[in-house]
C-alpha cells in the first residue's frame, strides 16, 4: 500500500470524475511532499545551528521565539529563528545580474527543486507512508537524484560569473562521479533481497537481519554509500562546489531571496533523502532496533506498527543527518583532485569488488 493507492481507494467510493480523482491523487501527495520538505528544512537548519553552536562553545540562536514562546535556557532557545529567516528570505530583493541569461537563471532553481521533489516520491517514511510504490523503487531514486545536476550547471552558466561557473563545473564533475559508487552500492541490497522495490528490501531485512551487519561487505558498502551520499549533497568535507573560502558561494553566488532559498530547501531535502535511503537500505527501514539480529524469529513484531515505523525510520535518518552535521563542523575541505581520486581510485574499485564478494557470500552462505 502506498499513499497514492490509499487516496485513489478512498476517493473511488465517492464516485468522482476520473480526471478529478487523478488530479487529487497528484495534488494531495504533492502538497504533503512540499510540507515535508519545508518542515525538514526548518527543523534541520535549527538543528544544524544548535549543533554547530555547541561544537564551537557558543549558544546559537537564542532570541527569536514563536507565538510568545521563546524556548528554554539552552537547547530550545531561539526556536523561531528559522521561521523568521524563511520570512526574511522570501521578502528579500530578487537580484538578477544585468548580463545574466535571465530565462535560464530563473529556470535553474526550479529544476534543482523539482529534482529533489520528485525523488521524494519514491522514498518511504514508513511501511505505508510511501507516496508511490514503484516496482523499481531504488532505480527511480537513483535516476531522479541525478536530475538536479542539470539545474546546477544551468545556474552556474546563466549567472555569468566566473566563480559560479567554477562552482557549477566542480559540482557537475563531483555529482556525476559519485553517482557511480552510490549506484554500485545500492545494487548490494538488490543482489541480496532479490527485489528493486522498497518493500522487498525492507521485508528481507526484517525477516533476516539488517543489511549493515549481514556480511562484512555490506558493512563496507554502507560506509561507501554514506560518504558518497555526503559528496552527492555537497556537504563538508566534499563541499568544494560552494567552498566559501575559495569560490565565495560557488554556483549560488548570484542568487538571492526566494531563488536562493529554493537551493537551500533542496540541499536539506537531499540530506534527508540520502539519510532515509541509507536507513531503509542498510539499517532495517521501519523495523525497530529489535530486528537488528533477529535472534528470535518473529520478534520484530515488537514495537511495530504504522506510527512506530515512522518513528524508527525517522530516528535513523536523524542520527545520520546528525553525523553529516558533525562532519561539517569538524573536517576541513578536500581539494578537487583529491575528491576525484577518492571517488575513482578508492570508492569505485572497492564497490565493484564489494559486489563480487557479496555475490560470492550469497552463493556460499
Amino acid at each position: 500500500m502506498s499513499f497514492v493507492d490509499i487516496i485513489i481507494n478512498s476517493l473511488s467510493s465517492l464516485e468522482l470524475n476520473y480526471t478529478i480523482t487523478l488530479l487529487l491523487a497528484v495534488v494531495i501527495p504533492g502538497l504533503i511532499i512540499f510540507l515535508l520538505m519545508t518542515v525538514n528544512a526548518i527543523v534541520a537548519v535549527y538543528m544544524e545551528r544548535k549543533i554547530s553552536a555547541f561544537m564551537q562553545d557558543r549558544l546559537g540562536p537564542m532570541e527569536v521565539g514563536i507565538f510568545g514562546f521563546k524556548g528554554g535556557k539552552k537547547f530550545w532557545g531561539g526556536i523561531g529563528q528559522t521561521i523568521a529567516d524563511a520570512v526574511k528570505l522570501l521578502a528579500k530583493e530578487d537580484i538578477i545580474p544585468k548580463d545574466a541569461d535571465k530565462f535560464m537563471m530563473i529556470l535553474a532553481p526550479f529544476i534543482i527543486f523539482i529534482a529533489s521533489f520528485i525523488t521524494f516520491v519514491g522514498v518511504p517514511l514508513s511501511e505505508n507512508f510511501l507516496i508511490s510504490n514503484f516496482n523499481i523503487g531504488i532505480l527511480y531514486i537513483l535516476a531522479m537524484g541525478s536530475v538536479g545536476v542539470i539545474g546546477i550547471i544551468l545556474a552556474g552558466w546563466a549567472s555569468n560569473n566566473k566563480w559560479s561557473l567554477y562552482g557549477a563545473m566542480r559540482a557537475a564533475a563531483q555529482i556525476i562521479s559519485y553517482e557511480i559508487p552510490i549506484g554500485l552500492t545500492l545494487l548490494l541490497p538488490v543482489i541480496i533481497s532479490g527485489g528493486l522495490d522498497v518493500h522487498s528490501i525492507v521485508d528481507w531485512q526484517l525477516e533476516n537481519r539488517w543489511l549493515i551487519i549481514h556480511s562484512p561487505f555490506t558493512f563496507i558498502g554502507f560506509f561507501i554509500f554514506f560518504v558518497s551520499g555526503i559528496a552527492e549533497t555537497n556537504r563538508v568535507p566534499f563541499d568544494i562546489p560552494e567552498s566559501e573560502s575559495e569560490l565565495v558561494a560557488g554556483w549560488m553566488t548570484e542568487y538571492s531571496g526566494f531563488r536562493w532559498s529554493l537551493f537551500f530547501l533542496s540541499e536539506y531535502t537531499n540530506m534527508l533523502i540520502i539519510s532515509l535511503v541509507a536507513s531503509f537500505v542498510f539499517l532495517g527501514g521501519w523495523g525497530s532496533p529489535m530486528t537488528i539480529f533477529n535472534i528470535i524469529p518473529g520478534d520484530y513484531m515488537y514495537l511495530d506498527g504504522p506510527m512506530w515505523g515512522l518513528f524508527w525510520l525517522l530516528s535513523k535518518a536523524v542520527v545520520l543527518i546528525f553525523v553529516m552535521m558533525w562532519f561539517r563542523w569538524t573536517f576541513p575541505r578536500l581539494r578537487v583532485d583529491q575528491l576525484m581520486y577518492l571517488c575513482w581510485k578508492v570508492f569505485i574499485p572497492f564497490s565493484i569488488a564489494n559486489m563480487l564478494f557479496v555475490g560470492m557470500w550469497e552463493v556460499l552462505f
Partner: protein
C-alpha cells in the same frame, strides 16, 4: 617548478581565464587583490595587486613629532600592534642612546610574547577557515579573547594599544596582571593539545597542506622572506637569537624550524607547524619573565623631548610576521625627516606568485593563508 606541476599541458594552446580574486573575497585576508590567470583549475600566473589599504603612514610621519608616530605604527600590523610600537620605540631609543630600565624591558617582552601568541592563535584559526574547517576559528578566538582581555586590563585598549613608548611604557602593569597572565597560561597550555587533535594531525588537513607550496631555503632567502615563513623552510634565523635585543639573550627558549614532518621541508604544513610550536616557546618565555620581573619605575627613562641628533638609524625587530625594520632619518628637529618601515608581510607576499604557479585555485588559498599576511602592514 616543473616537477611540482599537477598537470603537464604544455603542448596544448588554450587561452587563460583571468580571475579576479578580491579585493572583496572571503579569504584574501583583508583587501588584497589577486589577478589569477587560470587554465581550468590550474593557476598559470598570479599578479598580486596591493594598495587598497594605503594610508600614507610613512609620508604622514614626516609631519608628526616622534611621539605622535607611535599610534600610527600600531595601525600598521593591527594583529600585533605591540610588536610594531616596540620596534619603532627601539629605533628611536637607538637614536637617542637611551638606557632602558630592566623592569620596562621585562614588561615589553611579556607584552610582545603575549601578542605573538595572540597573533599565531589567530593564524591557526583563520588558516583552518581557509581550508574549510570552521570550528578551530571559534575555539582559537576564545583563547585570543583572553589575551585581549589581559591587554585591556593593561592598557585600556583591546586592539591598538599605544603602550610601548620610546624610553619606557605608558604605564606600569596593574597589580593582578602577573597572576592573571599565569592563570591564563595554565589554562591555555593544555588546550593546545585540542588543536593538535582537531587540525594538525587531521588526515584531510595534512592532504591539503603537506607538500603544497614548497618554499626552498635559498629561494626564501633570495626573496627576503622572514619570520616563521622563513624558519619553516629550514633556516634557523630568529632575530631574538641572532641579534638579541631587549632581554632575549637572558631567556632560555628554542627556535622551531621546519623539519618536513608530513612532507617536504618548507611546505604549508611546516609553515603552520612552526607557528604552532612558536606558541609553546612563547609560553616558555612568558613563564620565565613572569617569575623574575624586577621592581622599578617604568617612567624613569622617558625623555622629556625627543630631538635626536642629525643622522640615520636602522633597527630590526622580530615580530610575529617576521623581520620588521625601521629606518629613521633625523635632521635634528623634533619631527623625523624620513620614516621607512620594512614590512615583513610584504616580502612574504612577494613569494606567492612563485609558489602558486602550477597549483590549483584551492592551493592558492592554502599558500596565501600559510604566509599569514596582514594587509595593513603591506600597504601601510
Amino acid at each position: 617548478m616543473s616537477d611540482s606541476k599537477l598537470i603537464d599541458n604544455s603542448n596544448i594552446h588554450t587561452e587563460d581565464m583571468v580571475l579576479n580574486m578580491g579585493p572583496q573575497h572571503p579569504s584574501t585576508h583583508g583587501v588584497l587583490r589577486l589577478k589569477i590567470h587560470t587554465d581550468g583549475e590550474v593557476v598559470s600566473k598570479i599578479e598580486p595587486i596591493i594598495g587598497y589599504l594605503h594610508r600614507c603612514f610613512e609620508k604622514h610621519s614626516e609631519n608628526l613629532t616622534y611621539e605622535q608616530v607611535i599610534p600610527f605604527t600600531d595601525r600598521c600590523d593591527y594583529l600585533s600592534s605591540m610588536h610594531m610600537t616596540h620596534a619603532y620605540s627601539m629605533a628611536v631609543e637607538k637614536m637617542l642612546d637611551l638606557e632602558i630600565p630592566e623592569r620596562v624591558e621585562y614588561i615589553r617582552v611579556i607584552t610582545a610574547e603575549l601578542q605573538r601568541i595572540a597573533s599565531h592563535v589567530f593564524f591557526i584559526g583563520v588558516f583552518g577557515l581557509d581550508l574549510g574547517a570552521i570550528t578551530p576559528v571559534t575555539w582559537m578566538f576564545k583563547d585570543r579573547e583572553r589575551i585581549i582581555d589581559l591587554f585591556e586590563m593593561l592598557t585600556g585598549a583591546r586592539l591598538l594599544y599605544n603602550y610601548v613608548w620610546p624610553g619606557g611604557v605608558s604605564h606600569d602593569i596593574p597589580e593582578k596582571f602577573v597572576q592573571r597572565t599565569k592563570e591564563f597560561l595554565d589554562e591555555f597550555e593544555p588546550k593546545l593539545v585540542e588543536i593538535d587533535q582537531l587540525l594538525s594531525t587531521n588526515k584531510i588537513f595534512i592532504e591539503r597542506t603537506a607538500d603544497v607550496g614548497v618554499l626552498d631555503k635559498d629561494i626564501a632567502i633570495n626573496y627576503g622572506v622572514s619570520g616563521p615563513t622563513l624558519r619553516a623552510s629550514g633556516v634557523d634565523f630568529d632575530l631574538r637569537k641572532k641579534e638579541p635585543y631587549s632581554i632575549y639573550d637572558k631567556l632560555d627558549f628554542e627556535v622551531p624550524v621546519g623539519k618536513g614532518d608530513m612532507g617536504t621541508v618548507g611546505d604549508s604544513w611546516d609553515r603552520y607547524n612552526v607557528r604552532y610550536l612558536e606558541i609553546k616557546e612563547s609560553i616558555k618565555i612568558l613563564r620565565q619573565c613572569l617569575d623574575s620581573i624586577p621592581e622599578g619605575d617604568v617612567h624613569e627613562a622617558l625623555p622629556r623631548k625627543i630631538r635626536p641628533k642629525k643622522g640615520t638609524i636602522y633597527s630590526r625587530y622580530e615580530s610575529s610576521r617576521g623581520d620588521v625594520g625601521f629606518y629613521i632619518k633625523s635632521d635634528g628637529k623634533n619631527i623625523p625627516s624620513r620614516v621607512k618601515m620594512r614590512s615583513p608581510a610584504f616580502s612574504n607576499l612577494c613569494i606567492l606568485p612563485y609558489l602558486s604557479e602550477g597549483w590549483m585555485i584551492s592551493d592558492v588559498i592554502t599558500i596565501l593563508g600559510s604566509l599569514d599576511i596582514v594587509l595593513g602592514e603591506i600597504d601601510r
